[in-house]
């Protein structure tokens, strides 16, 4: 058992982190916030060229030929950097929608959860977005459409999935529905990692009452709680990437949602009044984390699946 990142996996993670640090730094993030709803097509193609979308597509089909663990690491970095765009929908469309793999085409998905992200900017929409109504999205970096009532249920997800062009099961053998839930969890994990870092950085440097606030136990314990949730979510996400077991995926999703949402809230609290301002990055993490919790395979579905697994005797 070598349940640790391999050298190649570390290199891949570092490579994605460097690419995003170079192409989507703090200034780019602010610029994106200033023009909401607009996708940076040049960056999209660059992500495509780097293999972000084609990561799990077999080499024979022009892909990178890697697996779910590698995709999880890439999506963790995207979440960490708050990278905007329908990353998941385009990644899942690689191999099924021409142009998705190389980033020349932007794909949105009306999969589940009742909303569609980036519908207006997409070149191709998978699933049925008929009657979708634009929302004033809480997240300035994720434009949202609301699907008609009833179409966000689990049953509707199945129907929508059945209408998706291309194979329901990707060439890697992992169902798209399961991969969608896990890669969402990976993004949540990355966001939780980042808010923990931001909180700790701030607590180390911000002085009140003549010393860094990180010397106060009340602040220390907030930060410790954040790290515990991050590390628990991390192993759950990585293990689910290795096994691709739906029960592992559901657990990963629950724990990553918790780590991202509570982590962003605690980070905001550590930042005090500054955290409540638009200038601080914290609110963007919280809002995006909220958006992700509404994607398919969220809390209720995951908890019910994990409960069922208990009496099935398999866990």
């Amino acid at each position: 058992m070598r349940f640790q990142l391999t050298e190649d996996q570390r290199a891949l993670r570092d490579g994605v982190r460097q690419l995003l640090a170079r192409r989507f730094d703090a200034d780019a993030l602010r610029a994106a916030v200033r023009r909401p709803g607009r996708l940076d097509r040049a960056l999209w193609r660059e992500l495509g060229a780097a293999g972000f979308f084609a990561l799990r597509l077999p080499e024979a089909d022009g892909g990178v030929g890697l697996g779910l663990p590698e995709a999880v690491l890439a999506f963790e970095e995207a979440g960490r950097a708050l990278l905007p765009g329908p990353l998941l929908a385009t990644h899942l469309a690689a191999g099924a929608v021409p142009g998705a793999a190389d980033g020349s085409v932007v794909v949105a998905a009306a999969g589940g959860g009742g909303t569609v992200e980036w519908l207006a900017e997409a070149d191709v929409v998978r699933g049925d977005a008929t009657g979708a109504v634009e929302l004033r999205s809480v997240d300035p970096l994720t434009p949202l459409h609301r699907l008609p009532r009833g179409s966000g249920s689990a049953a509707a997800d199945e129907r929508a999935a059945a209408r998706v062009p291309g194979p329901y099961t990707s060439p890697t053998g992992v169902p798209d529905a399961s991969a969608a839930v896990l890669l969402t969890a990976a993004e949540q994990l990355g966001s939780a990692v980042r808010t923990c870092e931001l909180a700790v950085q701030h607590a180390r440097t911000r002085e009140q009452f003549g010393r860094p606030i990180g010397a106060f136990q009340a602040v220390q314990h907030l930060c410790a709680g954040m790290l515990v949730r991050v590390e628990v979510a991390r192993v759950a996400v990585y293990a689910a990437a290795v096994t691709a077991d739906p029960v592992d995926v559901a657990a990963a999703r629950l724990l990553a949602d918790e780590a991202a949402v509570r982590g962003a809230r605690d980070c905001l609290q550590v930042h005090g009044g500054m955290g409540f301002t638009w200038e601080a990055e914290v609110h963007l993490h919280l809002k995006r984390a909220w958006v992700r919790t509404h994607r398919t395979g969220g809390a209720t579905e995951s908890e019910e699946m994990l409960a069922d697994a208990l009496t099935a005797g398999t866990r």
Binding site: M1, Q4, G225, V228, V242, L306, A309, L310
Partner: protein, 377 residues
């Protein structure tokens, strides 16, 4: 990144499972929780059985992964827990193995492995709980002996132990963490008085130990005089690293039992309860993955488990309490029946956020040693 075991490890698992299937039905009935002589005999007997079958030293000599498999399989099969051998096998033994002289290793290690001698832990004091470094039990040199005076508390298995791993202050003028020495004290030495303490669960699970000029040979000192703090840190990292493997397996089993109970008594129809059990399943699944991650890391680095154990202990101790609170919801009024094992487990789970460093202390450790925040007050 993988979660598969080597053929050798799988072979070990299969042989162990087969042996457990043969030997467990032949074991005598477990003694009652208050019967310390009976518990001692039972636990030491189990250790002897392990010794005869070649499994006695799995905590010491096996790779971390094999140790993980051993703990997983014995718990799944319902084998006896280490019990009265806990301190000897998981604390004192590893400490003596790492820090003792050849003569000390020869004197103390084989009897632990053969199930002949049990150990207890004399670390905590009435005025030094999680603040271990403020301990005050004194030891003054008198020829080739130390004379030890003071008192210890929360000492599990004290009535049943032959030896006590004892922390004493040998230099009261030294800084808090200096001036401490690690001694092996015979529990039958003159001047040792044991007073059992009744816990909120009703049983005498641990004791106060009073020490009145107890003579301990200088030869029983492990490590240098006044170097006991460092020796102790070696011990504590073992405690926080792998001590809970079997318990996570046990909690996952209990969770399955709870779900089946809820199915049969109708509580399963309550979506809130169902979802709560589902969430607990996620927690214990992740705690098992965290265990595998930590073991895999220990195997890769060859080192003892690090401060990451604090992350595990924090989440685990709270999850365990939530598990038995959920059990009470499943049971309804039966949760008030002390005859139900889940009721006793619920009571004893209250110790988990206190024992072996409170959750508050663990958060300090995470904040200062992992996240690098400035030292707090």
């Amino acid at each position: 990144m993988n979660l598969t075991y080597t053929p050798e490890e799988e072979d070990f698992r299969a042989r162990l499972r087969e042996w457990l299937g043969k030997v467990l039905p032949t074991l005598p009935a477990k003694p009652s929780p208050d019967d310390w002589p009976g518990r001692r005999a039972y636990d030491l007997g189990w250790q002897r059985t392990l010794y005869d079958a070649g499994y006695a030293d799995v905590h010491w000599d096996a790779s971390p992964t094999v140790r993980l498999i051993f703990l997983e399989e014995t718990e799944k099969a319902g084998a006896p827990y280490v019990g009265a051998n806990f301190v000897g096998l998981l604390h004192a033994g590893p400490t003596i193995a790492a820090e003792g002289t050849p003569a000390q290793r020869e004197r103390w290690l084989p009897p632990i492995l053969r199930g002949e001698e049990a150990w207890c832990q004399g670390f905590s004091e009435p005025d030094a709980g999680s603040d271990l470094a403020s301990l005050r039990t004194r030891a003054r040199r008198d020829g080739d002996h130390y004379l030890v005076s003071g008192s210890k508390i929360w000492t599990s298995h004290a009535e049943a132990a032959d030896w006590c791993e004892l922390l004493v202050r040998t230099d009261p003028r030294a800084p808090r963490h200096g001036g401490i020495t690690w001694l092996a004290m015979p529990m039958d030495a003159p001047g040792v008085t044991v007073r059992p303490l009744r816990t909120l669960a009703g049983s005498a699970e641990f004791a106060e130990v009073f020490l009145d000029d107890v003579p301990v040979p200088v030869a029983n000192r492990v490590g240098e005089e006044n170097d006991g703090w460092r020796v102790t840190m070696v011990t504590l990292s073992f405690e926080r690293g792998t001590a809970f493997v079997g318990e996570v397996v046990a909690c996952r089993r209990v969770l399955g039992e709870l779900a089946r109970e809820a199915r049969s008594n109708g509580r399963w129809d309550d979506p809130a309860l169902r979802r709560r059990l589902g969430r607990l399943n996620a927690d214990f699944l992740a705690l098992w993955r965290l265990t595998q991650w930590n073991v895999s890391e220990a195997q890769a680095t060859g080192g003892v488990p690090g401060v990451g154990g604090s992350v595990f202990k924090l989440r685990y101790s709270h999850a365990r309490q939530e598990l038995y609170d959920a059990a009470a919801d499943v049971l309804g009024p039966d949760a008030l029946d002390l005859g139900r094992p889940w009721t006793l487990d619920r009571l004893s789970s209250l110790s988990y956020t206190i024992a072996a460093g409170t959750s508050q202390i663990q958060r300090n450790i995470v904040a200062e040693r992992i996240l690098g925040l400035p030292k707090g007050r």
